[in-house]
Every structure is written in C-alpha cells, then in structure tokens.
Symmetry: C2
Subunit: 129 residues, 2 copies
C-alpha cells in the first residue's frame, strides 16, 4: 500500500475536523471549484472553500460511492441530495511525497445539481466571510 492522505480526508469529512484538514493540506495547495474556472491558490482560501463545502455536505444523504487511488492521485465519487435535488460529484485529489494535498478539484453533475450547489455555496461563503 502507498501512503496517502485519503483516509485522513475521510476523517475530516466525517468529523468536520478542520484542524486535521489544515494538517494534510500543503501550503501551496490549489483548489479548483466546480463552478469557477480560476484556480484558488493557497492554504487559506482552500480551507475556506473546503470547510464551506464540508459543512454543506454534512447531511444524512451524503456518501462517497466509489474510489480509485494510485500513487499520488485519488478520484472519489460522491452523491447527496440538497433540497430534493440530486447531486453526483467527484473529488480529484493530488498529493506530494510528504502526503500533503497539493491540488483539490471538484466536479459536479448534472447541471441542475451544479446550479443548486452554486447557489448554496454562495450563501454559505457569504455567511462566513
């Protein structure tokens, strides 16, 4: 088995453990939103996005459904419902030799689900900052 930060990422999601999240993110981590093209560079802004998402996704209907992992990348598929709208998404996570996450990219389908997430994240981020 390769060492990877994915088990710890699952703990972050399960326990809303943002201290652990900070531990597993590299300082130069880049977050790629499912909505916006522009990469969000750095630990601070990545923490902001991921903690907003983690809070949103902390609903009973959320679960990871499939996972494919290799030496330095993982593809984690998830499903959830937001206000009755089905969301099917995928986290594409890359890490370095220190097992620190260097890229975190989120994809969401279908279009209706992406629009719902966009709206909810806009509200959530505005509440926090």
């Amino acid at each position: 088995m390769h060492t990877n930060p994915i088990k710890k990422w699952h703990q972050v999601v399960k326990n809303n453990d943002f201290q652990l999240l900070e531990d597993i993110l590299d300082d130069s981590v880049i977050f790629y939103s499912p909505v916006v093209f522009t990469p969000q560079k750095g630990k601070k802004i990545t923490l902001m996005y991921l903690s907003a998402v983690a809070t949103l996704f902390n609903v009973d209907s959320f679960s990871y459904t499939h996972e494919i992992i290799n030496k330095n990348m993982a593809s984690l598929e998830f499903e959830l419902e937001l206000n009755g709208i089905h969301i099917n998404g995928l986290d594409l996570i890359t890490w370095n030799e220190n097992q620190k996450i260097t890229e975190f990219k989120v994809f969401v389908r279908p279009l209706q689900g992406l629009n719902a997430l966009h709206e909810m994240m806009g509200i959530s981020l505005k509440d926090k900052y």
Copy 2:
C-alpha cells in the same frame, strides 16, 4: 497489469473509430451525461451520445491530462477549449470481467464550460437525429 478497455477507448477518440466503440460497450451499458440526471440506458443511446461527444472533442485543443485506473474503473481527466471557453472534464468508466464498458459517466467544470458543452451537444445531437 489488469486487462481493461481504456487503451481501446483512446483509439476510439483518436481515430473516431465507432466500430471499435461498439465492440467495447456492453449491451447493457449506461451513459450518464454531465448535463442531465436521467441515466441513458443501452448501447444504442450510449453510442449516440458518445459519438456526438467524440466529434465535438475532435479539436486540436483536446487532450487527456491525468488517468487513474484500478481493476474495473478508470478516471480520465481531460481539457479542451470550445469557442474560447475552457472545459475541464472527467470520464468515469466502469467495465465488467469481459472488459466491456458497463457505465460511462462524464463530469464537466466550470459552470461556463458545462453550459457551453450543453449548448454545443444540443446542436450536435439535433443535427444527427
């Protein structure tokens, strides 16, 4: 190495070889569009969608950028530009013990890219059928 249909899928994309595509799809294959929630069931409709997509993606700017493969699933990330709009997508492909593709799911980000693809695919599918 596990046997998988991914090398053949790359040949399909490279050569627009829809005969080969038909060979590697299982009869019960399900296509999941990045736009629409409803799964598209069966070989005929999956061929229709994938050949429309393959034609659209047959542009100089298209390339697969990362690939993660395990025993029966692959996650293939791609990038392209459509009319100056950046599209970053991912094919999540599942196959059975006969190396026939049983599920083909497409994710696209960002929102602007998904909207552009939606519009272009609508035009392309209408042209064909």
